[in-house]
Amino acid sequence: MTTNDIVKPENLVYAKTPVLSDAVMHYCPGCSHGVVHKLVAEVIEDLQIQEQTIGIAPVGCAVFAYNYLEIDWQEAAHGRAPALATAVKRLHPHKYVFTYQGDGDLAAIGTAETIHACNRGENIVIIFINNGIYGMTGGQMAPTTLEGMKASTCPSGRNHERDGFPLKMSDLLALLPGTCYVTRQSVHTPGNVRKAKKAITQAFNNQKAQKGTSVVEIVSSCNSGWKMSPVQANKWMEEHMFQQYPLGDLKNI
C-alpha cells in the first residue's frame, strides 16, 4: 500500500481546524504559541462557539493573534486584557470571552488587572503563556524568569537578592475566591497537548456554567529567547521550568 492509497478524504484523521485562518504564523520555528493557538481554535470548533467567541489579544509575541483565529477580537493595551475582557463580557454576557496573554503582559504590567479581574470572579477565560522571559522585545528578564536563568537584562543569571524571586502567578490566582479553575499545563509532548486541550475545554465550559474566572497557564518554551533549538528548549523546559512551575490543577471547583 503506497502513501497515495492512504491519502484519501475518507481516511482523514487529523487536519487543521477551519477556525484557524490560512495566514502563516509569524512565530519563530517551534514556538509554543502556535500549538496553543491551534488548541484554542480546536476547542472553539468542538464546542461550536465560533460565532459567539470574542478573544482579547495582548501585547507581546501574540499581538497578531487576531490574524490567526477566525473569531471576533479586541486588541488590548499592554497588560489590560482582563480589564477589556471584563467590559466585553459585561456588555455581551452570552458571548464566550477569553484573553490570551504572555507572562510579560499578565504577570508584569498587567498584574493589577489580572488579580482584580480574578478577584471579582469575572466570568472569563484567561490563557496565560509563561515562557519566563519577554520574548518579543529580545529576551529580557520577566517576573517569571527562573533564578539563575540568563536573560538579556541579567546576562549572569537572575539573582534573587538583586532581582527578586520568580512570580508564581497561577498560585496567587488560585488563592482568590473569584477563580473556579486554575491549572498549569504544557504543550511540549503529544500527551501534554491533549491534556492542555482538555483544560482549555473545561475552562470554556466553566464560562458557560457561569462559575467564575478560569485560568489556564501553559508553561512554554521560547527557543529564540533562550538561544536553543526548539527540541533543546523543550528539554530545558522539562528540566528547569517544571521545577519552579509544576504541572497540574491548582484549583478546580
Partner: protein, 74 residues
C-alpha cells in the same frame, strides 16, 4: 488486532523545520528534508513511510498546523 497504516501530508511551504514532529514521532517516520522551502527551511517529510501508523502525534505538536494525517485499517 487490526493493523493500521498511516500517512502524513506536510504543507512544505508553511513548515518552518522546527523538528518537534521528528521528536514526537514514536516510529521515527519523519526526518527533515535535505531540500529547502521558499523560507529557506528544511521542511519535515516522511523518511520511513511504511512505519507510519497515523497516530497524529506529529500533527498535535506542530506549531504551524501544517501536518494532515490519514489512517487506514488493513
Amino acid at each position: 488486532m487490526a493493523k493500521v497504516r498511516g500517512a502524513i501530508v506536510v504543507d512544505s511551504a508553511v513548515c518552518k523545520g522546527c523538528a518537534l514532529c521528528v521528536e514526537a514521532c514514536p516510529a521515527q517516520v519523519i526526518q527533515l528534508s535535505v531540500e529547502l522551502n521558499a523560507k529557506g527551511m528544511n521542511y519535515a517529510a516522511m523518511a520511513l513511510p511504511d512505519a507510519c501508523t497515523g497516530c497524529a502525534n506529529c500533527a498535535m505538536v506542530c506549531p504551524d498546523s501544517c501536518i494532515t494525517v490519514y489512517r487506514v485499517k488493513i
